[in-house]
Chain length 349, copies 4
């Protein structure tokens, strides 16, 4: 009954197999291996972007920080939500990599509207050099609260950002889940909606540790590569990154896994929705569910070994009486349906 | 009719005279001149802190950034208000000097309560290394909106900060105006209320360009000095900084000037308060007044040559019809009463 | 005939197998997995340091930069050789991670004597805040030119560094090869000789991508962990790092592989030494050989497909007439003896 | 008998007078005051560069660090001499401001030849992203050892730098002394010789604390201004910087003062040259003299109150027997001839 995070699950067997197959004799390193050329070609195809620059790193934070540092200047501010991973979960890595850019928080949670963004961007930079200057806009797709931006929402955000001459970056640690959820093409959800750069996450969706950073305009490619090396994120034995990514994208495994994870979450939601005292924060659109559960239900689940995060409160809080407590349940592709059903049964008892 | 900023006015003649007197033959530099020892002794006396470390820089942003960088780690977040000079007016200098620390905005304007601070500090650092770690608390006294923290407010804030093991820094660009306003001793308003470090501004209150940074615990003194040098803020001809500060503090000139500025502001407030259509944002407590004025009143004043900042809107907005517009009026010590009265007369016409 | 680098070869099958075995169901991440506790215990045992802090990263540059940033202050200078990887091969990563510390180059090549170090350290910091302050000493073992510091050399260097209150760091990307070469214990070569912190490389010696950073004084552990997270080097699926390292250290595989690589290099040296026109830069002590070869010999070898680096000159230089050209030949553990012999035969023809 | 530094002397009375005159009522700040426009026009005229960007800061280290940070990328290396102020005397300020660029030391002392520069630049950046990338070239004119680059030397250096697509920066803390020494025009020594950017020092030559930074290509102006603000080096009461610089440049006061300082140094050299046991390191070309003096001569001079720096040894060394000791003697414009003669008399006794 593992709902703690999609990075607690295993890698897909095909990814492990690809690592073993890549382990064959000598190979050039640092991305010069043949497999990387294949990865680049495949990602360009997926995003219908034949000129795109494609580079690999091993962690999502590296992808976000290096991409934003390439897009932002140190005297700028990056527009994101208060719930953004770059704000909440990276221990100031974006500030470190950008050389001290600021993050301006827009909206109240995991999304902002184009109008909220416009107001925030309009408020900056009215006094010459004194305040932070306007910088890139960063959104997360799938969001940190398990929601998905619609194509229209992304396009409207991009229009505002571009109106101020700023690029749009998508933290795509769970990009696959969003594509699966929307049923659109990857290009429609990104490049065609006005996105300028993105990360395509593998780690949370069946890989060992690999994320692709994609710039649709390849002009920034060399600077990114220098930043990646300077940040100590260039792998000498790079073949083990490209092998993962190649296996992940082959035959649309990435979307199959995302569909599986999303389906798991939908099954969980269906079961929880009908229980007394349970209320969903919002309809899950991908592989994460946020729901308030009565405290005795939490106690039963935890005793039975269910693993998940209470949201914003300590676990000890469950022991006390009080109102329902919000929790996050993340489903990965490997979660057995029987485990979901067992969880629901314990919850219902 | 100059209400634009207290840094638009002249230096006090005694400060200029001190510069001329300091210009006498050879002298050691870099703070080793005799005058700096006098400045240190005087500031220790003022704050009743015989061990305090005292160092001079030429700008308020340097004072804030260097002090906070000495108190904070790059992986921490500094707690301040949304209106804080360090957030709004320093083009990311704090992020630069700290090596990428974050600023967490507490409250809605220029002040936060101890309870708001506690909630914000409590929310951080619940997940090990992942989020930003708790860092120093920074308040501004006199605030950016012309208000003054009471001794109780400061003590309550310091108690919360210290409860989390974090120091309290006071951006004292207008510290003199607050001391004058409260009628307390400088020590009561700072060290005795729990403040750990502060800047004592000279630039906005009669100096050419000098700010003292004071650490009540001298342990951080050497690190500050290295950071000041590395930040290119150590003056070779340092005597011209210490001469200013010595003249500023001699015979309590600094408080006389602050009282004069505050009195100017009170006179302005008295006159504006009674005019039709004018409403004060809050009672001015020091030398800055925020008030909403009807648009035709703004037009009359600007035509007559009054200089002040509209708050958050472009000057062109005045030409259109609409509701009253908020403006900031800052009074410095040198403002002639006749100018205030002329301003009020134009406003009243 | 692959002598280009020890990061061009494959991982050892046991390491790949360990990755596959680690891929079993759900596991805590970020180093909280059970395997990491085993790795820590094993490394403490190897270095006879029951209190040591042990952390994993995926690249050698990350290990060096994060460790040095933890040991150095931004206003200090790190003492290293002109050939040091941190100086020559990391695109300013140490400067980035330390926040702008300087590197002072001591000696002429890959080693410096204790006396050269003393002279360099003595020359710094004679003028208060003005110059860079003395910082940590960094040596590489095995060096970038394939040599090994003796225990006495390390002890003498450490004595000088400690005399100035500075720690000694060892870039141990090829630490295993040095231990194998000296025939001492890992503890004798490091902790007992005065080393304060080190990296223990896996990537160049049979792993996919993993390096351990070891601090004998665990006081710096938490700061290192914050820096690792902020540098985006903390793996969520950390189990795949600990699995590699566990397999690498199990049954002294790490030393077996180093011995194999060193033996390959010795075989190559034996064969090259006797050829006309070939001169060795110095006796190889580990797995890298530097030798001058006649240009026609280079031409024959390259035509036959031998892969290695010319040292400091472009490959096109081989086509011209001229004096012998220096080249670097690195042997990894996987190099077949038959390939070495074939290389020697081509060279001799 | 003050030969310690040209920053130990007073400001010229006209500069102090200008400060007093600038202290007249309200004025816009941050460089928007009318006097700054005059300064810009005057500097453009002096360098025959009608498009040049001109900005003021208060310290030489700020000028160097901000200018180099504007010209260099963090992954580059700046080429300078081992004696360069940016290497030896700025506590890593260039590394801080550039975000971690490296300094590559060329030559043995205070100058390098174009050929030495070419060799150093050629050696970098031969391996893609791995090493530091080539960056700007920085020379000091007058050098830290009191020598002056000839126009031909500068032109040859610039040709090499430009051949690699890199700009040339001149640390001109003592630019005036070099112009006075060479008897050329400021434009001939800089822009016409291929210099791209420079600092024009005032602090060491009669000002209180002001340096101009000049970019002949104004494209970098806005970035410099953002960096200056972010570095806390933008003065609110900027009029006191522009007043100094205006007075300094008016009627060629800057060159008059440099000529006076240089003449003082020549008088000192004439007197010292003929004394037994004294040897000059090289012919002084500006206002600094380096000479070896017998230890008893040092003792006599110090007892008599002469102030100057021993070069690289502690003052206590003078008390012991031994060979002559090198010392630096810097003459400023205000040094009375009688003091020089008294010094020479004590030395000769």
């Amino acid at each position: 009954m593992q709902f703690r995070s999609d990075n607690a699950g295993p890698a897909h067997p095909k990814v492990i197999e690809a690592l073993a197959q890549a382990n064959d004799g000598y190979a050039p390193g640092y991305g010069a291996e043949a497999a990387m050329a294949d990865v680049t070609a495949r990602i360009r195809q997926i995003f219908e972007a034949p000129e795109a620059a494609v580079h690999l790193v091993a962690t999502g934070t590296a992808a976000n920080s290096l991409a934003l540092a390439t897009l932002a200047q140190p005297w700028q501010t990056i527009f994101c939500t208060p719930a953004a991973h770059i704000q909440e979960d990276e221990c100031n890595a974006p500030e470190f990599y950008t050389g001290g850019a600021k993050l301006t928080l827009v909206g109240e949670g995991d999304k902002f509207t184009a109008e909220e963004l416009r107001a925030a961007m309009e408020a900056e930079e009215v006094r010459g050099v004194h305040g932070p200057q306007r910088g890139p806009v960063s959104i997360t797709q799938t969001t940190e609260l398990g929601r998905v931006h619609s194509l229209d929402e992304i396009a409207a955000i991009a229009e505002v950002a571009h109106g101020y001459g700023q690029p749009v970056y998508v933290d795509g640690a769970r990009l696959a889940n969003a594509v699966a959820s929307l049923g659109c093409t990857p290009a429609e959800m990104t490049r065609k909606a006005g996105v300028d750069a993105l990360s395509l996450g593998g780690t949370k969706n069946g890989c060992v540790g690999v994320e692709a950073v994609v710039f649709f305009d390849p002009e920034k490619s060399w600077e990114f590569q220098l930043r990646r090396k300077r940040g100590a994120h260039l792998f000498s034995k790079h073949r083990y990154l490209s092998a993962q990514m190649a296996a992940y994208l082959a035959g649309d495994l990435w979307l199959d896994l995302a569909n599986a994870a999303n389906a798991n979450c939908a099954r969980l939601a269906e079961g929880l929705r009908v229980l007394d005292g349970v209320s969903l924060l919002h309809e899950p659109q991908a592989n994460a569910l946020f729901a308030e559960l009565p405290r005795d239900m939490h106690r039963r689940l935890m005793e039975a070994g269910a693993a998940y995060h209470l949201w914003g409160v300590a676990e000890s809080e469950v022991e006390r009486d009080g109102p329902p407590i919000l929790a996050r349940f993340v489903c990965d592709w490997s979660l057995p349906e029987a485990e979901i059903d067992r969880f629901l049964q314990v919850a219902a008892d």
